[in-house]
């Protein structure tokens, strides 16, 4: 949102389009790069949370917000930058989570297990990406959905490895020990909050830098038109595949973090509803920027906690919010508010 406000001061009238504020942000050169600036903003928010949180419960919800932000940042790269809809990204998320859970049982240390899961997810995205990304629109949606379902099914059925539908315990690293090494004695909920927040900040910075890079610009060219991008000499298939892999990496890192922070995972982390949730977070906040990812993740993570009083009507409220936001604020909350801000200023 910060970033949303900045460029508006220099925005040309023609720049009220879909990526106006994003493009402006990267074309405007500042003393510090956009990636570093994003990182700092995120870091301040992480610290601010820690300042006002009264209990482990808030840290716990905060941790989930950052983990979701990280996963949704991957969706932003795919959907916001390139315009590709994936309804199966929870599959990559689950691969990261399950690798982190399974490999320590075979003697692999947790960080290495998580890294393996992330690489595995990236590799899978690379292999299946080529045929899948030839499709577009609803065909791409169903293909990614099918891929996600297959991953979910393998996780549910192969009980000898994954514990089956009841899930499995994640043994291994606790973030507390990381902080103990430097002499800080934190509760584990706090420790995971810092780890998740820091990772999300790095992830956001990388995504913002990507948007400003030449390959990021080619991604946005594809977003506007495949054909036009091709005629500019952009290797469309390659660029799409790269975005797909990057977004899978984000999901897998988030999955690994969730597995470690929770200590327990079930196949539902890879389920269809989780994929939908990730896309909804992105679209709700505004899929074109990492701040949209943060706002979307924050709202959809905190909302069920606020709505416990209306637990019986939670579905209706959630569904209603999804519909109304998409009708009233098609580009998501962050761009919507950024626009309001611009209009008020001018």
């Amino acid at each position: 949102m910060m970033a949303g406000q900045r460029p508006t001061t220099s925005a040309a009238p023609a720049d009220t389009g879909r990526h106006a504020y994003l493009q402006n942000k990267v074309t405007r050169r500042r003393a510090i790069g956009p990636g570093l600036r994003t990182f700092l903003i995120f870091a301040v928010l992480v610290g601010l949370g820690a300042l006002i949180f009264p209990s482990s419960y808030f840290y716990r919800v905060g941790t989930l917000v950052w983990i979701n932000t990280l996963a949704v940042t991957g969706i932003v790269v795919l959907l916001g930058y390139v315009g590709l809809v994936s309804l199966g990204h929870a599959g990559f998320f689950a691969i990261g989570a399950y690798a982190t859970a399974i490999l320590p049982n075979y003697g692999v240390p947790s960080p290495l297990a998580m890294l393996s899961g992330v690489l595995l997810a990236g590799l899978l995205a690379l292999v299946v990406g080529r045929p899948i990304l030839k499709l577009s629109g609803y065909y791409l949606a169903i293909a990614t959905l099918g891929l996600g379902m297959l991953i979910w099914m393998v996780l549910s059925k192969e009980a000898w490895l994954t514990g089956g539908p009841d899930g499995m315990t994640v043994s291994g690293m606790n973030a507390r020990n990381l902080f103990k090494m430097v002499g800080l004695n934190l509760k584990s909920a706090e420790a995971w909050y810092w780890v998740a927040g820091f990772t999300a900040a790095i992830g956001a910075a990388i995504a913002v830098n990507l948007a400003g890079s030449p390959s990021g610009r080619s991604l946005r060219a594809i977003h506007d038109s495949d054909v036009a991008a091709r005629s500019l000499g952009i290797d469309v298939a390659r660029a799409k595949s790269r975005a797909f892999v990057i977004s899978a990496l984000y999901a897998a890192v988030a999955g690994g973090l969730l597995a470690l922070a929770n200590g327990y995972i079930t196949p539902e982390t890879g389920g269809f509803m989780h994929s939908v949730e990730m896309v909804t977070m992105a679209v709700l906040g505004g899929a074109t920027s990492v701040f949209g990812a943060l706002v979307g993740a924050l709202i959809l993570t905190a909302l069920p906690q606020v709505l416990t009083v209306f637990a019986d009507y939670e579905h209706m409220l959630l569904g209603g919010i999804m519909v109304v936001t998409m009708i009233a604020m098609r580009r998501g909350l962050v761009p919507f508010i950024a626009d309001l801000w611009t209009r008020r200023k001018s």
Binding site: S136, Y139, I142, L150, V154, T280, D312, V323, M326
Partner: protein, 290 residues
């Protein structure tokens, strides 16, 4: 041999349900270019309404049409309140809107009805019929007949009636359709009403065999969506064939390979078809406008 026959019977029964849902998808897609993820909820509305009415003592021949009408009303409301206001929205917004609508409807059904599993007796009793070495429930014949009837109706309606041609014209080019005097708004309303009615009818017919509860819609929608894509979006014949094929693939996998990966088989086939023939089995190749 009698085993193969039993697998076929099972596959066709289940496939006919998928086909009915896929036909509903097809009609809305044809009119609006929207793939309606809330299609599964129409099935549940049909089944739950019929179950509630029959449970309250209403005879089935009154309860069934009422349930279909209830579905139809919800379909029109869905269009007016959620789809029409977002008409020019990008694809991803429409996906989120229809998924949001399905979550909303699920919550509403849980509040209006309950969380129990429901069922009522088959229209022609529950005594199985023997065909060769296999058995089939009379209700399965209702389901298969219903799907074929819906297919025949759609094929006739879209090609032979003025209203149906209006829907097709609206789909291919809304502005041109409006220019030649087609009431595109009416065409859209009609397609959502009919599509919801088809979904609700599927629910009414299937509930004695499959049972129903407020939350089964998602899975129904996923299977129907898959069937639509397999057959080719927008083609009623494709929807029918896609539905039956998925049902048969599942039954054959369960029967001959492994029941563990029965559900997976359908998705594997869909991925293969999409890779090799993205327009589906019966779909026309769509050339994208630039």
């Amino acid at each position: 041999m009698s085993e193969l026959l039993q697998f076929l019977v099972s596959g066709i029964t289940v496939g006919a349900i998928y086909a009915a849902i896929a036909l509903g998808f097809t009609l809305i897609y044809n009119a609006s270019g929207v793939v309606n993820f809330a299609q599964g909820e129409f099935v549940v509305i049909g089944g739950m309404t019929a179950a509630a009415l029959i449970g309250a003592g209403v005879p089935v021949w009154i309860a069934a049409p009422l349930a279909v009408i209830a579905g139809m009303l919800v379909g029109v409301l869905l269009y007016r309140l959620a789809i029409r206001p977002a008409r020019e929205a990008p694809l991803v917004s429409l996906i989120i809107i229809t998924i949001g609508a399905s979550i909303f409807l699920r919550g509403a059904m849980q509040a209006v009805f309950d969380k129990q599993i429901h069922r009522y007796d088959g229209f022609s009793g529950d005594a199985p019929l023997r065909v060769g070495g296999a058995t089939i429930l009379p209700q399965s014949l209702w389901i298969i007949g219903g799907s074929i009837a819906v297919f025949a109706f759609l094929a006739w309606f879209l090609n032979r009636t003025r209203a149906g041609r209006g829907i097709r014209a609206t789909a291919s080019n809304r502005m041109a359709a409006a220019l030649v005097g087609i009431n595109t708004g009416r065409a859209m309303n009609l397609s959502f009403a009919l599509s919801a009615a088809i979904g609700a009818l599927a629910g009414v017919l299937a509930t004695p065999v499959t049972f129903t509860s407020y939350d089964v819609g998602v899975l129904m929608a996923l299977k129907g969506f898959s069937a639509t894509m397999l057959g080719g979006v927008g083609s009623p014949l494709g929807a029918l064939a896609g539905g039956l094929l998925i049902g048969l693939i599942e039954a054959m996998t369960a029967g001959y390979i492994s029941s563990d990966y029965k559900d997976a088989s359908a998705f594997v086939v869909i991925l293969l078809v999409l890779f090799l023939r993205p327009q589906g089995l019966f779909g026309a190749r769509i050339t994208e406008r630039v």
